[in-house]
């Protein structure tokens, strides 16, 4: 047995160790707060460039939101109505979701309930890689592959239209829907599944009657995040929608979206001009739309956790 140590041993950290720790913790705190500042900053700087036009008498918010006339460079009669682009964004997003949601939820169910663990890991890696393809490459594929495909299949005059962009957006939002959807299904406790199986249900009946209702909120969040991605997507729709400012009357009509409009015109406007400021105003509008969609998705996820 050792003799007892003289006690208490006085431990003392050297001052520089304490000071270093303080400094690091201060740095960590600053970084944490920077996130908030950045969100505020994004809104501030985008809004700051947009603000002068909002205050100007030449600009009416009603006309901006509800007119389809977009003639920003007209010499005699300048018009800034973005309704056609709002409709364009909605059309492309809606069609994309109509394609992506059944496939996405189906894929999520397959991954979480039907396939073997090994296959699941492989598929998840592939889907992760699908998510990694840059949007400009998707746009390029729309411009070349899908364009040719649509012209051949539907005998369309131009292959750059609502359907083209929607196909691309569907493929782009699928990875999000599948992975978030799979998380949502995985979060349903196994006891639910066991209860379903114990009652003699087949796996499909169990999915249909038990899992889908139980994972409702999470699946909703998956879809909303997909919508957020589709609404905010720029390069793919810029290259694949065909660029016409009009209310589409069919799936094969070219349109223009809010995002594509900013990307295509910002390069040509002179800084500080009305047109420039209107483009920033569209940015504010987009910021608002995606903010709401993401907030809704966040609420849906939390609803699930509760």
């Amino acid at each position: 047995m050792n003799a007892p140590l003289p006690r208490p041993i006085v431990f003392r950290r050297p001052w520089y160790s304490v000071a270093l720790e303080r400094a690091i913790e201060a740095l960590i705190m600053v970084c944490g707060i920077s996130a908030v500042i950045l969100v505020g900053g994004i809104f501030f700087f985008v809004f700051r460039e947009a603000f002068p036009i909002l205050a100007s008498p030449n600009f009416g918010l009603g006309e901006f939101l509800f007119s389809i006339e977009w003639y920003p460079t007209s010499v005699r009669d300048v018009r800034y109505g973005v309704l056609a682009m709002i409709v364009g964004t909605l059309a492309v997003t809606t069609l994309a979701m109509a394609i992506a949601v059944p496939f996405g939820i189906g894929g999520a169910i397959y991954l979480s309930e039907f396939c073997t663990p090994k296959l699941r890991e492989t598929l998840k890696v592939v889907i992760e890689l699908l998510a990694a393809i840059p949007s400009v490459v998707w746009g390029f594929i729309g411009l070349t592959v899908v364009n040719d495909l649509l012209i051949t299949l539907f005998d369309a005059a131009v292959g750059l239209n609502v359907l083209n962009a929607a196909l691309l957006l569907a493929l782009m939002s699928l990875p999000i829907i599948v992975s978030i959807g799979e998380d949502a299904l995985k979060a349903v406790p196994d006891s639910y599944r066991e209860a379903g199986v114990a009652l003699g249900a087949t796996r499909w009946q169990m999915v249909y009657r038990v899992l889908l209702p139980a994972a409702r909120n999470g699946l909703l969040a998956a879809v909303l995040l997909g919508v957020g991605r589709a609404v905010g997507e720029t390069m793919a729709v810029l290259m694949a929608t065909g660029h016409a400012v009009q209310i589409p009357t069919g799936l094969l009509e070219p349109v223009r979206t809010l995002t594509a409009n900013i990307a295509s015109e910002m390069g040509e406007v002179s800084q500080g001009s009305e047109h420039y400021r209107v483009l920033f105003t569209i940015g504010v509008l987009l910021f608002g739309i995606t903010f709401l969609v993401n907030l809704a998705a966040d609420l849906a996820v939390r609803g699930r956790r509760r």
């Binding site: 960590i28 496939f103 039907f114 840059p134 400009v136 746009g139 905010g232 720029t234 910002m266 998705a297």
Partner: protein, 294 residues
């Protein structure tokens, strides 16, 4: 033997159909990746070579290679990661290890969620308004990289938080119980064990940043810059640069007369680089996970 009645057989029939349909649906998600990759490579093959990577474009960009764009992308990704990775990781440490559950923390949480969902074109506007104009950086690598960094930040924060949260709380409590400060706990126990997740998240952002186009369109990427073959230091941070993603966009939409194979080869290089980096992340994750210490 147990004989299946008609009711049971019908149910099992449904089960089989459901399984097949779902498998087919999943294949519909997965197959486009391979189809696209194959198509890009086949169409781009005639132009793909080492010289294509190392040479500058010629003849109004209708001939030659992609070197200035390739090295430009390396610059952009490097600078943006140098900013976003440390800030993002530390912000995540703050949120996960220090912040208490107050209104302020919830505000940060909401902010991060929404920062991640802001469309890339809005980031472009922000970069233009804040870095190019307000900060006076002009259209430059610095402005474009900072814009990319802001875009990357929330994703790095989210993935780092997830990695930190995966370290069991009991480890932290054990450290606190013996009189360790929060930072000592983080440095000795939390960070070393979260590093694989943190690293994976950061690598994934490298690939995402490399492919971003919209945010750099007005903040620092230009159509053409004269750069020597294989020159590794062609750009200063205060000047604009070419980038692979915008180069592809320009070839496809702005430049007349670029042959198909040149466009497809450029797309192949971009996708190839991105997928290569992503696969690295997958491997890193697998390796580090297998070395887990508990």
């Amino acid at each position: 033997m147990f004989e299946a009645g008609p009711e049971v057989r019908r149910k099992l029939g449904h089960e089989r159909i459901a399984h097949l349909v779902l498998a087919a649906v999943t294949m519909c998600i997965v197959l486009p990746l391979f189809a696209i990759l194959a198509y890009l490579v086949v169409k781009g093959w005639p132009s793909l070579s080492l010289a294509f990577l190392l040479e500058p474009p010629r003849e109004m960009q209708t001939q030659g290679g992609i070197w200035p764009a390739l090295i430009g992308t390396v610059y952009l990704v490097g600078v943006s990661l140098a900013v976003a990775a440390p800030v993002g990781v530390l912000a995540a440490v703050y949120l996960n290890e220090y912040a208490r559950d107050t209104w302020f923390t919830r505000l940060i949480h909401v902010a991060v969620i929404n920062l991640a969902g802001v469309p890339s074109i809005v980031h472009a506007l922000f970069g233009l308004g804040a870095f190019v104009l307000a900060a006076g950086l002009g259209q430059s690598i610095l402005a474009a990289s900072l814009t990319l960094a802001v875009m990357t930040l929330p994703v790095i924060i989210a993935s780092t938080r997830e990695a930190l949260a995966a370290v069991p709380r009991s480890f932290r409590e054990a450290c606190w119980n013996v009189g360790a400060t929060r930072w000592q706990t983080i440095r000795v126990v939390v960070l070393p064990n979260a590093i694989s997740g943190i690293l994976t998240g950061v690598i994934l952002q490298v690939s995402r940043t490399a492919g971003e186009t919209a945010p750099i369109l007005f903040t620092g990427a230009v159509m053409y810059k004269a750069v020597d073959r294989g020159d590794v230091f062609p750009y200063r941070l205060t000047e604009s640069a070419m980038a692979l993603a915008t180069h592809l966009y320009n070839l496809a939409t702005q430049i007349n007369g670029a042959p198909d194979s040149l466009q497809f080869a450029t797309a192949t290089v971009l996708v190839g680089a991105v997928l290569l980096i992503n696969s690295t992340a997958v491997v890193v994750r697998a390796v580090l996970r297998s070395r887990r210490k508990w």
